[in-house]
Every structure is written in C-alpha cells, then in structure tokens.
Symmetry: C2
C-alpha cells in the first residue's frame, strides 16, 4: 500500500461545457453533477480509499493551483505539481513520474483524469487492484478499458488480444491497438467484433516500468525529465520545468508511448464510467424529473419542458416553458441556450464569443 501512488491530472481546459466551464475554472473544478462536490473532489475521494492520502499527487497548470488548494485543503500543497505550460499528457506524466520515482524507487502509480465519473467504486477498486498487481509483476503498462455499451464516437478505443487473458484475472488482456475517436461505422464494427474497449485514460504502472518504456519509445522526453532528478524538490525546480516544458512537444502519452510499447495491458472493466465529455453524457448522470429534465439550480420552474439540461446558479429564478431537448446554462453573467442535438456547435460559439465579445467571457 505504501508503494502505491496516485497522479490526478487536473490541468485540462475544455470549451464543451461553456459557459459552465471556463478557462478560469474548467469542468474538473465544478460541481457539474449538482451533488455538492466538484469532480476533482470526487476523484480525490475516490483515490483516498485506494492510496494513502499522502501518496496522492495532482498535476495541474499554474493557473489552477489556488483553486486546488481551496478545493482540497487537506492536500499537502507540495503535492500539487505545477506545470508552467500546457503540453498534453506526455510531458505531464514524464514529470510527475520522475518526481515520484525520486521519492520511491518501488512506486506504482495510478494515473487518472480529474474530471471523470465512476459510479461503481467497489468494481473500480477491484479493477485497480488487479492492475496494480499486474504492473508490479511485469513492470508493464496497464490501462483501464471500459466495456462499451454503444458505438460511441466520442471515445478512443483499445483493441485487445482475446487469447491473452492472464491467468489471475480473466479480464486482463494484452493490448493490440489504440484507435482515436472512430466514425460511427467503424465504432459499430469495433462493438460487433467484441475485442474493443473504451479508453478511459486511467493508467497503472510502476515508475520504473514507465521510465524504462519512455526511454525506449520517446528517448528525448525521457532524458529531458530524468535530468531533473537532483533538481526536483529544490528551489530550482520551477526554472528547470519552464525550460523542460518549453523544449517538449505537445503530445499525449497515448501517442508518445502507449501506441508504440509492446508491453501494454488493458483491464476490461464495468465500473459505471463516463468521461462526462458532452452535455448529453452529463444529462444522463444528473437526477431527472419525470419529464427527463435534469435541473441543477434551486429555483427552476418548468412548464411543458422535456429532456432539457439546465444548470444555473441556485439564486437564479428560471421560468421556462415549451422547451424540448435544450441545454440552458447560465454562469457568471453568461447565458447559453442551445439545442442538445447541436451541442457540438458550442466550440464554435466559444470561438465567436472570444473574437467578437472578448476573452473575459471564455
């Protein structure tokens, strides 16, 4: 247990939930489900029963350090690893893993996004436990794969080799390929074949196994962050990082490492997972009234509305009538009303607003 660490990645900024989520306060820092705690807080709590609290680290962008300190006052502030620039997950994990490896050469780390939903904590713990065993045993790279329920085109897919289920866990497979978001037709073929899982973005590996693999498949990145070994934890760390991040490409760990490595395993899991990546997926996970309206806000009065997703401040009185399948979101002086089926347009709206109305709204 004392060798198990968790790295929560909380540096992302998305525009899909605008104006609820903004660049100043992205999704992971919001109580987006209306349950009284933010996604980051939920993620932290989830790992408190998996790791020792003192083994939990959060990697984030400098902009969000204060928010994290506010939302997780129990966290040792030195466990907030601050990235000076946004360079996607590969530099992020090269940095965080080296930091932890310096602390404990026998560490096994669980890497997880900060803004996902996991409904079945027991099944999740069981899956993680199995992955930790596998990672320690082989120093291999293990991912959590989610058993798909539909040909969702919003997720990445992991193909596994069916015959290689390992003995102690029949849901643990060797990975064959990673595929980015597919078309609907291809997604359907994936589902039909039975040997594809959704890529949850949750990874388990020993620091040793990860650093070895990185050295093999992305040597410059591995070297760049290994060079900080003596600097991590000193007052030169920030300066070192600025240079290291500036020199690094913007690249995901999937692309930089996982797609290339030949010792990647996936644990097929049914854990009630969602990346909460769209208003649609959000809607499904919020308590609904009998008209399938998911209403977050304490003063929402609806007449003849169906299947709407509403998220407004508690003090706001909203009276809405005759809306079907709409998103209504208000946050910090910005109101969005949009058909749910057209939510992919929100990115465009955000761009337009940025250009025509100013960055302060984004």
């Amino acid at each position: 247990m004392e060798n198990t660490y968790c790295i929560i990645m909380a540096g992302g900024v998305g525009s899909r939930f605008w104006p609820m989520s903004t660049s100043k306060k992205p999704k992971q820092f919001l109580d987006i489900l209306g349950v009284g705690s933010t996604l980051l807080q939920q993620t932290y709590e989830r790992f408190e029963s998996i790791c020792l609290p003192q083994n939990i680290f959060i990697v984030t962008n400098i902009d969000y350090k204060t928010i994290i300190e506010e939302q997780l006052p129990q966290l040792n502030p030195t466990h907030i690893l601050v990235e000076p620039l946004r360079r996607n997950t590969a530099p992020c994990l090269a940095y965080a893993t080296n930091k932890i490896h310096k602390l404990n050469k026998n560490a096994v780390t669980i890497v997880a996004p900060s803004d996902h939903l996991i409904l079945n904590q027991d099944a999740f713990k069981k899956a993680i436990k199995s992955c930790v065993i596998k990672a320690k045993e082989d120093n291999c790279l293990v991912t959590i794969g989610i058993k798909p329920t539909n040909p969702d085109t919003g997720y990445g897919y992991i193909q596994f080799v069916n015959s290689t289920a390992v003995e102690q866990d029949k849901n643990m497979y060797k990975v064959k390929t990673f595929t980015e978001k597919p078309t609907l037709e291809i997604a359907q073929q994936f589902i039909d074949s039975g040997d594809f899982l959704w890529n949850s973005g949750i990874f388990i590996w020993t620091t040793k196994g990860f650093l070895n693999a990185l050295e093999l498949y992305d040597e410059p990145l591995a070297t760049r962050f290994k060079a900080g070994e003596k600097i991590y934890g000193t007052d030169k760390e920030a300066e070192f990082l600025t240079k290291a991040y500036t020199d690094s490409k913007n690249i995901s760990i999937d692309y930089s490492l996982l797609e290339k490595a030949n010792n990647v395993y996936v644990r097929s899991s049914v854990v009630g997972w969602s990346d909460l990546g769209t208003f649609g997926s959000l809607h499904a996970h919020i308590k609904q009234d009998k008209f399938q309206n998911a209403l977050i806000g304490k003063n929402i009065v609806q007449y003849d509305c169906n299947n709407c997703l509403v998220n407004v401040p508690n003090e706001k009185l909203v009276v809405m009538q005759g809306l079907n399948d709409y998103i209504v979101v208000e946050s910090k002086g910005v109101l969005l009303i949009c058909k749910k089926q057209d939510e992919q347009l929100i990115r465009n709206f955000v761009n337009d607003v940025k250009v025509h109305k100013g960055e302060q709204f984004i």
Copy 2:
C-alpha cells in the same frame, strides 16, 4: 392653451411583461422598446408639445413616486398626484379632475395611460386638438378611438353612430356602446360592420363636463371627491385621500361613467397606436434583425433563431441557438423562456412564482 391640462395615469401594475416588468417597476417605467427612454418619458414628451409643461400631472400609486421623480426630474413634484390605494381609473380621475378643477374652472383635460405607443405624433396632435374643441364646445366626454386593423381580442371596442359625424371633423362620432374584450367571432363582426373602433383609453373633457357627468352617473363618487375641494393642496390631503379611496369601489371610468353617459363622443384616429399589451405587440414595434428577431441587449449572439423577442441587460452575454418564436427575458436575477404563442400563460407563471418562490420575484 393655458386651459389645456394633461393627466397621465401611471399607477398600473401588470404581470404580462414579467419579469421585465415587476410590481416594483411596471412597464411604464421601462425602456421596453430599447430606444433609450421609458414609456412614461415618451408619454410625457408627447404631451409637452400638446400642453404647457406646467399643466401636466401624473397620477400614480405611492409606490412609484420616487421612480417618477427620477425619470422626470423636470416635473414639479407637486404635479405627481399620489393615490394611497389602487382603485382603478374612476376614483383616480375623480381625484385628478377635482384637483385640476380647483386650479382652473375652465380647464380641459386630456387623460392618457402612461404605457402606450403612438407612432404618428402629428396625427395624434391633430386628433387631440379636435377633441379639445369638441369637449370645450359641448362640455361632453370625448375619447380617442383607434381605427382597427384586425379583430384583436385584446382590446375594448367602441361602437359609434355613423350618421352623427359632426360637421367640423368628419371623424368625430357619437358613441353608441362600449364593449369589453370580445371573442374573435364577435371582434370579426365588429370589424366587418365598420362602426367599431378600439378603445385607446385616452379621454378628453372639460373638468366641468366630467364632474357634471360624474354627478349624474356616479353620484357617491362625485360627492366623495368634491368634498375634498378645500383640502386639496393642504397638508390634510393625504389623510383625506386615504379615507376617500378606502370608501371607493374598485371601478373603471368606462364602467362607472362612459358606458352610461349619453354625451360621449369618439374621434376615429389613425395614429400608430398600440397599448403594447402583449409581448407579441411589443415584438412588432422593436427593430428586428433579418430573421425577425427583436433583440434588446448589447451582447446577444444568435444562431439559427427566428422571430424571437429577447430583452436582457446590456452587460449580459446571451448565446442562443435553435429557438423559433420564443420570448427570452432576463431581469434582476429572473430568467423567463417562453413560447411566444403561449404568452398568455405568463400570468399563471407569475402567480405560481408568487406562491412557491415568494413575492420578491414579482
């Protein structure tokens, strides 16, 4: 000219434009058309070119005295006649006419609501002028009737006797009947008959003529407010009014007097009038974009919206997509989204909000 007075009635409170209009700040005190001045201010300006400014009086409820002082700083504060209670137009005009009659026994008064639109000021002036002549000549009661353009069921109708057009103004007729808001079928019959006009609620009479008629047709009311003759303008006026209003029935001047009197005339007029009584009528009078959206607010961005009426504070950023024929109104922390065709439901919404959320929202 010095005998011509104007009484602007600004005490009404309506719920049809909620949440734009609230009981604290009803429609007449709002820049509901987004033109930079409130309906009260527009009404005042309209009469400045008809009366001497020192002959303009405003009757209102005590609640609105401060708003009127703010919106019309040029008005002598003693010209705001304050009603202690809401008792509809009959007590209101009994009071105001007695006040003016005390000042000038030869006064002719133009009575007008504070929240209507009149687009053709020249035609309106001409109509008023003719009514003033008629009222002075006969000490009769004259109303402005609007030539109807459609069988609107939201208006009252005035039937005139076609053969009695008076000599000096062929649009001046004797009134036969007043009818409250009719059904569509009846309204259509009215239009077809050609001898019905819309009741604008604008009246012209000499104070003498009005007080004589009131004595004939509503003697208790006439006596009650005549009794204040020596008290008006003294420090006992407020006390007197509280009793007089408490003793008075809630009754309109149409019902109390005009429907009974036999010396009522109507001047058929085409003056670009609207009582702005519905969001629909409001929509028609606001500048529209090429998609027939009437957008009041400086930061409204619309995609794929048609025929919507939006009224939000300037500082509010609204991004709306995929709405057709909707009303979107935000005011003081309250947001209303409603199908335009269902706007008559807004009164119900207001009642529900009052009961379930509290009077502070109304």
